[in-house]
């Protein structure tokens, strides 16, 4: 029963592009991408409260993998490469950094994305001599949408499964108190690493799948830190520790930001700023929790 509603929704979403214009399809892809990014981000950060700003490091790595390999390998092999690269990167980063906590982790993850961008830029300018790359793949916009929809659905399904498994319980314990977690027998490093790698592989794949939309790729485009910030605020708005929270935050915010960036590009950062502050002060646990609290209060009064 709990499966039927999501499956119907998925089916409806899957046939939508048959009735949409190119512009509408573009919006659908964007929304699906951010649902995937926010859900994948929350898979690691939602319960552990490790606020990662490295989202774009993996997203960009995925896009760059496609940009570099798109004329060399068949498409499925490229996706596989992207997943392996994302996973390896996450493993290295995770092994060295997951003992950092709080603000150190936040800053580290942000610095990591910037470092990768700087290094790729430097490498492209000085070694290969080409700052930009083109992606020519024989993929239709609809196919991109379907792939992203599938990845998003898989992310949410994976999250649902993890939250009912030992791994999910361990992540929640870590989010509340790492010392208690360790003294209860939780292998902190392993649990955090597994979740971080899973999350990062999905982020990388999302970057790879969406990359043909860019056609022209350069570091400042695919490693744009705004992607990381948007992902964080979307997940937090809906409720990063809820299964549907990130998706709930991602869809409306993506549409709002899309509208703002085409109509009021200058006020865009102000809106983003107000949103962050608003979430912290008004709905610190996300919209889903806030709605639940409201209905509970209504019931008590009635």
């Amino acid at each position: 029963m709990r499966l039927i509603l999501p499956l119907i929704c998925l089916a409806v979403l899957a046939v939508l592009p048959l009735h949409f214009s190119d512009y509408g399809l573009g919006l659908l892809i964007g929304a699906a991408t951010y649902v995937t990014l926010a859900s994948a981000w929350a898979l690691f950060s939602g319960h552990t409260h490790y606020i990662s700003l490295a989202t774009v490091a993996f997203y960009g790595a995925g896009a760059y993998t496609v940009a570099v390999l798109n004329e060399v390998l068949p498409y499925p092999a490229i996706l596989l490469c992207a997943a392996v690269i994302g996973g390896t990167l996450a493993l290295i980063v995770g092994l060295s950094t997951l003992r950092l906590r709080g603000v150190y982790f936040v800053i580290f993850s942000f610095g990591l994305a910037e470092l990768i961008r700087q290094l790729i830029t430097w490498y492209e300018v000085n070694v290969t001599g080409t700052l930009g790359r083109y992606i020519f793949l024989d993929i239709t916009t609809r196919q991109i949408y379907w792939q992203m929809l599938a990845l998003g659905a898989a992310t949410i399904a994976l999250t649902a499964w993890i939250m009912r498994a030992r791994l999910g319980l361990a992540l929640r314990v870590i989010g509340d108190d790492e010392t208690v977690a360790a003294h209860s027998g939780v292998n902190l490093a392993r649990v955090k690493l597994i979740a971080f790698v899973l999350s990062s592989v999905i982020l990388t794949l999302a970057g790879a799948i969406t990359s043909p939309r860019y056609v022209y790729v350069e570091p400042s485009i695919v490693f744009n830190p705004t992607v990381s910030f948007l992902t964080v605020i979307m997940a937090l708005l809906g409720g990063a520790n809820r299964l549907w929270g990130p998706a709930l935050g991602a869809v409306p915010l993506f549409l709002v930001f899309e509208f703002l960036s085409s109509n009021f590009p200058d006020t865009y950062p102000i809106f983003l700023g107000l949103l962050f502050i608003g979430v912290v002060f008004v709905v610190p646990d996300g919209l889903i929790s806030a709605a639940e609290r409201l209905t509970r209060r209504g019931q008590v009064r009635a």
């Binding site: 030992r166 509340d176 360790a182 003294h183 209860s184 027998g185 292998n187």
Partner: protein, 242 residues
């Protein structure tokens, strides 16, 4: 052969030697009080045994197994469970989940129905069975202490380390707490308890070890220790006349 054996354990914090060549051991099923004035290194000893801090030198053994150098999750899975001096519950989890985690991630790695049953039993032991689905953040102080003990018990431990678990209780709660610890001991559990409440120590522990300024100054029967001039002067802050 002793069950828990602490062998010349040293813990150095910068220039401070918080634990200085401390050695003592516990037999299986024994209950021992760890006494000493504030800052004498008792909690540090608990932290060394549970792996919260690595020893600077020395060794710690449990049932013939070397604990020295193991991470605290490995030590927990080896059968060491503890409570904390400043209560640590998991505020966003339910009581059931709070307690279940040691059953799930501890030495017996239960899951599903079995883990629930172990957690229910532990909650019942401390008298919180009816509130299993409440959220831990809403508990009173004494109930948080109970919850912490239940979590330690759900690990089905070989040895239980209590760090001032009785502190801050009112006289009625204290009597209940003492009775509860006694029941656990009678059920065969080995217990090492840091405690300031001397009456409780008298009631529960036939033997105590006493620390002062990081050193072990007594390891003997409780009554003898409490009248030992070295112990008395340590508590009263005087110098020991040798």
């Amino acid at each position: 052969m002793s069950f828990l054996r602490i062998d010349r354990a040293v813990k150095q914090f910068g220039g401070l030697r918080a634990v200085d060549e401390v050695s003592f051991s516990l037999q299986r099923g024994e209950i021992v009080g760890l006494l000493g004035p504030n800052g004498s290194g008792k909690t540090t000893v608990i932290n060394l045994v549970s792996g919260a801090l690595p020893v600077t030198s020395g060794e710690i053994w449990l049932d013939g197994r070397r604990l020295t150098g193991l991470r605290c999750d490995r030590i927990a899975r080896a059968g060491v469970a503890r409570t904390f001096q400043l209560v640590r519950t998991l505020p966003s989890l339910s009581l059931m989940e709070n307690v279940m985690i040691t059953a799930v991630f501890g030495r017996s790695t239960h899951w599903g129905e079995k883990a629930r049953r172990v957690a229910e039993d532990a909650l019942a032991t401390v008298g919180l069975a009816e509130r299993a689905s409440a959220v831990a953040g809403d508990l009173t102080y004494i109930d948080q202490k109970r919850l912490e003990l239940a979590r330690a018990l759900a690990a089905e431990p070989e040895i239980l380390l209590l760090d001032e678990w009785l502190a801050g209780l009112n006289p009625t709660e204290l009597a209940e707490g003492v009775a509860l610890i006694r029941r656990l001991h009678e059920g065969g559990l080995t217990i090492l308890m840091v405690e300031h409440i001397i009456d409780a120590v008298r009631a529960l522990c036939p033997r105590v070890v006493v620390m002062n300024s990081g050193r072990l100054i007594a390891d003997e029967a409780t009554e003898a220790a409490l009248s030992d001039p070295a112990v008395v002067s340590a508590y009263l802050g005087g110098e020991v006349d040798a």
